[in-house]
């Protein structure tokens, strides 16, 4: 095989005067070579080829000019092997992307016609996107891909600090992903709202805000941005200008005797909303999270549910409180799950209890799911609200112990 390589065939490597170079330049040259050859070792991350077969065997992918056929739309978590065969006439690429379609988890490039190449990636349970790119341009042919929980951890690390660090990293990635989706959603919402397309804006309102509500503790850590984006009319300080989501909410879901905003005011509000969200997205990049931020954040999110969502105060005009409710619970659950591997070493009972309470609350909330969203808050009766409140309270108690148990 090496002899086919045109560059190696010409002359052998034997003629090096290895020990003749004594000048400082010679040593510098050697040092550069040494540094260069050490680099791959320092950067090298290895992954098991063999283990891939242990969790379900390779997933066959066939890429042609117009199709990207994947043998299975889901796989158990752990090491996944995609065997990508190019049956089209053009060079193709295969990507495994995060659900947002932006972050690359793995790719194989340069799959020539008639060739088969493997992609091996370690994947946690969750939603992903696959893409074949015939001709190596554009978005590619995309499809959703699900990784189910195989129960076996990709790597069980006994080092407690590493578990915590990995959890914090995981949560930071989640925050980043949510801010990106928030920004994209806010842009769509603001465009529709500024255009006077109230129907579309109303449809986007609750779903977009969910990304905000999921990361609220992080967003709230910027004391100046939170009121600009999320202040409610009832909480305004005297003289404070009212901007943000709830200003638009009132305008889109107007109460009786309400004077609608002018087109100019709407445009200004939309522009402000997008600008503040961009600012937020930028600043969340620089936030340094620690494990106690996660634990306390989870608790804060649940308190938000108890004080704002269960009472229907948050979305007083749109009545979409249950969307926010779900998003707060999502945020708290992801924070808990990020800390879970560490918590299980310290206090497996608390971990089990939290797991159970989260499930109970989620089940209780699911009862009010409707279509892509939920029923409106004003459609709930007193008894139903109390039931939800009881579920929130029973989770709140063990959740308040999370930080102390996992971090200290």
């Amino acid at each position: 095989m090496p002899s086919h390589f045109p560059l190696s065939a010409t002359r052998p490597a034997a003629a090096q005067p290895a020990e003749t170079s004594r000048s400082p330049r010679g040593r510098r040259g050697l040092a550069i070579i040494a540094a260069a050859s050490a680099l791959p070792l320092a950067l090298a991350g290895c992954t098991d080829n063999a283990k891939a077969e242990a969790t379900g065997g390779p997933i066959q992918v066939v890429s042609t000019d117009s199709a990207c056929t994947i043998a299975s739309a889901s796989a158990p978590s752990g090491n996944l092997t995609f065997t990508v065969k190019n049956e089209g006439p053009q060079v193709t690429e295969f990507y495994l992307l995060a659900e947002d379609g932006l972050r690359i988890l793995g790719e194989v490039e340069n799959i020539g016609p008639g060739l088969t190449r493997n992609l091996v990636v370690t994947a946690e349970p969750g939603a992903y996107t696959t893409a074949c790119k015939p001709g190596m341009t554009g978005e590619g042919i995309r499809a959703a891909f699900q990784v189910t929980d195989s129960g076996t951890k990709a790597a069980v690390d006994a080092d407690f600090q590493k578990l915590l660090d990995a959890g914090v990293q995981q949560y930071a990635a989640y925050v980043k992903d949510q801010t990106e989706q928030l920004l994209a959603g806010t842009r769509d919402f603001a465009a529709a709202y500024a255009d006077g397309d109230a129907g579309t804006a109303r449809d986007l309102y609750a779903a977009t805000r969910m990304h905000w509500e999921r990361i609220e503790p992080v967003a709230e850590s910027f004391g100046d941005l939170d009121p600009k984006l999320d202040a409610r009319e009832a909480d305004l300080e005297p003289g404070q200008e009212w901007t943000g989501w709830h200003r638009a909410e009132k305008d889109l879901f107007p109460p009786a005797d309400y004077t609608a905003l002018s087109a100019e005011e709407r445009a200004a509000l939309s522009a402000q909303l997008v600008a503040d969200t961009e600012d937020l997205a930028q600043r969340t990049r620089e936030v340094e999270l620690s494990a106690d931020n996660l634990g306390n954040g989870a608790k804060e999110l649940l308190d938000e549910v108890a004080t704002g969502k269960v009472t229907g105060e948050e979305e007083i005009w749109s009545h979409t409180d249950l969307w926010d409710f779900q998003a707060n619970v999502d945020g708290a659950r992801i924070a808990f799950e990020s800390l879970k591997p560490a918590l299980e070493q310290k206090d497996p009972e608390l971990s089990a209890s939290l797991e159970e309470k989260f499930t109970a609350l989620q089940t209780g909330l699911k009862a009010y799911a409707k279509g892509d969203g939920f029923v409106y808050y004003n459609e709930l009766n007193q008894e139903q609200v109390q039931e939800l409140a009881a579920l929130v309270d029973s989770l709140g108690e063990p959740l308040s112990q999370l930080t102390a148990a996992a971090v200290l």
Binding site: A36, I104, T137
Partner: protein, 282 residues
């Protein structure tokens, strides 16, 4: 067949260009004795790549995608550093050629010769791993049909052939133009390598901004076309270039080229004939 041929051609050109220009320089300045070192670097890179590729294809462990990109990107950026140093070294030693004692020149060349091994190894090695992985995949599938492997090898062969022709052509160019031309070409090629390295690191998630694209001319210059292949193979031109890549390219090429040209045009080499001097400064 064509597509695999183009891949071979592109990867081959990416690996060959820097080596060819350095070779031409050594021949031109009468340092043929240093050629084996250049070839040694190439051979080491090819051997390591092929062995590593085989190990990753058939061995029990594969490389994570991030590591693969990080190695490619990291080697590219180191290669740029070395090529830059080489270009200025060439410019400097070119001046000492006639004016100083031969022994001194040789001593300097001897030290820098080790740099040559590293430059050659990096120039080839940065593309080597990816190419080797591709070739092993082609070899594996040759049980079904040999066309992919033949196509890719033909592409590599043509790249080597083009490299040889370029070498011959460059050697014929007159000395005054030669130094300016080779050095400037190397700087521009190195700029492409840098941008490519930045892109690799962006894909690995080590650098940000993978989706913030400065321009996208993929429809006008499809990467699968022959001209797209040549642009990519020679200048590492990417039809969809991110801002970070574009900035890295500009921030590298503009100042380096400026300093390079200033060094070269300001103090002409004593080897040049008066006529050539007049040409260089006009």
């Amino acid at each position: 067949m064509t597509a695999n041929f183009l891949i071979g051609l592109r990867e081959g050109l990416e690996a060959t260009l820097i080596v060819v220009l350095l070779m031409a320089y050594l021949v031109k300045t009468g340092r043929r004795a240093l050629l084996p070192r250049l070839w040694a670097g190439v051979a080491v890179a090819v051997a390591v790549s092929v062995a590593f590729g085989a190990l990753l294809t058939f061995g029990p462990r594969g490389l994570t995608f991030e590591a693969q990109e990080a190695i490619g990107g990291g080697l590219s950026i180191i290669a740029v550093g070395l090529v830059t140093w080489m270009v200025f070294w060439m410019a400097r030693t070119a001046k000492t050629l006639g004016g100083e004692l031969k022994s001194r020149v040789d001593r300097v060349a001897d030290g820098a010769g080790w740099g040559l091994v590293a430059v050659a190894a990096l120039a080839v090695g940065r593309e080597g791993l990816e190419t080797a992985l591709f070739l092993w995949a082609a070899a594996q599938s040759s049980g079904e049909t040999t066309t992919p492997l033949v196509g890719a090898l033909l592409g590599l062969g043509v790249a080597a052939g083009l490299g040889y022709l370029l070498h011959r052509g460059v050697v014929k160019v007159n000395l005054a133009r030669f130094f300016i031309w080779t050095g400037a070409a190397l700087v521009i090629i190195a700029g492409g390598v840098l941008a490519y390295g930045v892109h690799d690191l962006q894909e690995a998630g080590i650098l940000p901004g993978l989706h913030i694209v400065a321009f996208d001319v993929s429809t006008a210059v499809p990467p699968s076309s022959w001209y797209g292949t040549l642009l990519k193979g020679t200048l590492n031109f990417s039809p969809a270039t991110t801002w970070l890549e574009a900035s890295a390219w500009l921030l590298y090429v503009v100042p380096i080229l400026f300093f390079y040209l200033r060094v070269n045009l300001a103090a002409p080499s004593p080897v040049r004939s008066p006529r050539e001097n007049a040409m260089a400064s006009s």
